[in-house]
């Protein structure tokens, strides 16, 4: 097992490459941990993130503020217009409401009085507009003898409607948990491709180096045995990397595993890992140049991740982009994670496609390897 031993030794020389990719991955996984777990047993009103700047501090403005606070999440905002606009631009707040000093007088005279910073193209802008206009409509309707009847408004606004949610038979309670696992495992696609191609590729480039190959040819080591040990080394390395990612999900969200169909994520990750290992095998037979291997690692990992729905959900991608993505196993890997089905039978086609890609990469790689031997 000399070849196997040296393969692992050389792979571990690139430990910083594996570590940096893995640490980066876990960093983002942990950043995305917060705020995702949310159970949805009944209808939950969408609360907007809004900022309120009250320059009036009158009974009417305070009442409006109380109402908006009861319907939305209040975010601290700066009174500077540049900062307000940036917060809207970055979607930190959905709207910022600025109440002027002569608020009550202008409401009575039905002037345009409240400044609302928002993005007109979003449904959130309709919601905040509706809330403000409704409150002021009620305020004017109750305005008699120079006074607003704020208690009557408050009482009216407490009237609610019943909202019933229909059930479609799926397990609705684990939406948030599933979302986290979906994101986590989708992102493993990027790191898996980057790690396999760069680390295994760099080690194989050393093994395929002209002088080493010549030495191997005149040695007593049989070619088949030599290759077997190399492939075993690749499998071991891929197994360790895949195991780390699976273990990571268990460590970070282990207590929620029973709420989701973890087996599907598990099988999908292992099949994808195999498929990318085969792709790495193909690349190693195409090029021996370390620089080209590095470039391919970066371009393929980032490229397939962007077009297959790792970074952006597939539903937001155009048809042409998705058609292109279908030529890579990442597309089928992400599709399974996004499906959130309860049985393995439901994803058998996509699993099969990944295996088929793996097989195709392997066969082409073997053909190229054989051709190279004949030269």
């Amino acid at each position: 097992m000399t070849v196997y031993k040296y393969f692992i030794k050389m792979a571990l020389r690139n430990k910083w490459l594996i570590l940096s990719n893995t640490l980066l991955f876990f960093f983002f996984a942990i950043i995305n941990t917060s705020g995702h777990i949310q159970e949805e047993m009944s209808f939950i009103e969408t609360k907007l993130n809004i900022g309120i700047i009250d320059n009036s501090n009158s009974p009417l403005s305070n009442s409006l503020k109380d109402y908006l606070e009861s319907k939305n999440n209040i975010i601290d905002v700066s009174p500077e217009e540049e900062i307000i606009r940036e917060q809207i631009f970055l979607q930190i707040v959905d709207a910022v409401v600025v109440i002027p000093e002569e608020f009550e007088e202008k409401v009575v005279s039905k002037e345009k009085v409240i400044e609302v910073y928002r993005d007109d193209r979003k449904a959130e802008s309709i919601q905040i507009e509706h809330q403000i206009e409704k409150f002021l409509l009620f305020a004017n309707a109750t305005h008699e003898e120079g006074k607003f009847d704020l208690n009557a408004i408050k009482s009216a606004l407490s009237e609610k409607v019943n909202v019933n949610m229909i059930r479609d038979g799926s397990r609705g309670i684990d939406k948030g948990t599933n979302e986290w696992f979906r994101y986590y495992f989708n992102f493993t696609a990027y790191v898996t491709i980057a790690c396999y191609i760069s680390v295994i590729g760099l080690v194989m480039a050393d093994f395929n180096e002209y002088n080493i190959e010549n030495r191997r040819k005149i040695s007593s080591k049989r070619f088949l045995r030599f290759n077997k040990e190399l492939y075993l080394g690749q499998l071991s390395l891929a197994g360790i990397i895949t195991f780390i990612f699976i273990l990571g999900s268990i460590i970070i969200k282990g207590k929620y595993i029973r709420e989701i169909n973890f087996n599907i994520y598990l099988v999908n990750t292992i099949v994808f890992s195999f498929s990318i290992l085969c792709l790495t095998f193909l690349i190693n037979n195409i090029t021996r140049n370390k620089f080209v291997t590095n470039c391919l690692s970066v371009v393929l990992s980032l490229g397939t991740s962007f077009i297959s729905g790792v970074m952006v959900p597939q539903q937001f991608l155009g048809d042409k982009v998705l058609t292109l993505a279908k030529f890579f196993p990442t597309y089928y890997f992400v599709r399974i994670n996004d499906m959130q089905t309860s049985s393995l039978l439901g994803v058998k086609n996509d699993i099969f496609m990944q295996l088929l890609f793996g097989l195709a990469f392997l066969l082409v790689g073997l053909y190229l390897s054989k051709t190279a031997q004949e030269v």
Binding site: L17, L24, K110, D119, R121, K122, I126, M165
Partner: protein, 351 residues
């Protein structure tokens, strides 16, 4: 001056011929911009979509709902409700008692709920209809388009502007006798190292700026995205990004004895990490970090460049220009100074 010019020409030729430089500075940014465009283009153009409401024929609030522009009314029988909700044809169904039926929680469903609530609340307020002025408009609209996805492109531009890092690494590696053959020759000739170094910095900066130009042309004319509307300060940030990148590259090149490949990998990882923090892989990361560790966005060089680029070009704000240019300049001076400390008076007993 003549020597400097000659050095610039030779080093320029050397750098252009290097595949590493051509790939990382010229090809890679264009590939990345294309991927970003393919992935995010559909998410940048938001359009306000109508909300579809299902009601039974003869519902007493039908005429009220029809008055609201954003609502699309569908006549649905009780038997069809479940199916239409499940396949997304309607966002909610309002029955004759003004109860709402939905499939999921969301902004559209919340808006429908608030519309029905208003009808019920008016009944409870019990005021004559002439007291209500439905034509009154109390809102002064201050529209500001939200476009989180464009941050990704500005982060890319910021990242690419620091790719002078590769030129910086190369030039420092070239002049060190223990790292390159040219370095060995240089050290036994009367050529001055600092002249060679200055020429390398000039060439690295110029070629990376040229590569940045190619990227901007590609983004503007091929992808048809208008990223640079403000030229003066934007150019300053891109030039400072180049200077910072080259200075950091020189520092990486001078501070250790690893191979040039290892140094380039180190550079890629460092720049990529800073870019990820600035929102290149997903702007939500930037928003989360800005909220929890705001100082990070003010000291991360890629964030400084990308934040200022979107502020200048999309928000017309110059409030952080001075701070940004100052921090980037300080970084550049610091790395050049440290590189100088590593490189000065370096002698070799044997090579």
């Amino acid at each position: 001056m003549k020597t400097l010019l000659r050095n610039c020409i030779y080093q320029g030729k050397n750098l252009i011929r290097e595949f590493g430089f051509s790939f990382w500075c010229l090809i890679y940014p264009v590939i990345l911009a294309t991927f970003f465009y393919l992935a995010f283009n559909g998410m940048m153009d938001i359009e306000l979509e109508d909300i579809n409401i299902g009601i039974e024929k003869g519902n007493r609030i039908e005429s009220i709902l029809e008055e609201i522009k954003i609502l699309n009314i569908h006549k649905v029988s009780q038997a069809e409700v479940q199916e239409k909700l499940n396949n997304g044809e309607i966002h909610g169904f309002i029955d004759s008692d003004l109860n709402l039926m939905v499939k999921e929680s969301g902004i559209n469903q919340t808006i429908i709920k608030e519309v029905i609530e208003q009808i019920k609340q008016m009944e409870r307020l019990n005021k004559p209809i002439e007291n209500y002025d439905f034509e009154a408009d109390h809102i002064l609209d201050r529209n500001q388009e939200a476009n989180l996805m464009v941050i990704i492109f500005y982060s890319l531009v910021a990242m690419v502007s620091t790719y002078g890092i590769f030129g910086g690494i190369t030039v420092v590696s070239v002049i060190q006798a223990n790292l390159s053959h040219i370095g060995v020759r240089l050290n036994v000739t009367p050529l001055k190292k600092h002249e060679f170094l200055i020429a390398g910095v000039i060439v690295g900066l110029a070629l990376n700026l040229f590569a940045n130009g190619i990227l901007f042309i590609f983004i503007k004319y091929v992808l048809k995205l208008e990223l640079l509307n403000e030229f003066k300060y934007s150019s300053i940030f891109i030039i400072l990004g180049n200077l910072f990148g080259t200075a950091l590259g020189m520092f990486i090149g001078a501070s250790n004895r690893k191979s040039e490949n290892a140094k380039i990998t180190m550079a890629v990882v460092i720049v990529l990490f800073f870019s990820l923090l600035s929102g290149m892989m997903g702007p939500n990361i930037k928003v989360v970090l800005d909220k929890n560790i705001p100082i990070l966005g003010r000291i991360n060089p890629i964030s400084i460049i990308s934040n200022n680029l979107y502020r200048l070009n999309l928000l017309g704000s110059t409030r952080t220009v001075r701070e940004g240019t100052l921090i980037l300049s300080l970084y550049s001076i610091l790395f050049i100074f440290l590189s100088y400390l590593f490189l000065r008076r370096r002698d070799y007993d044997s090579i």
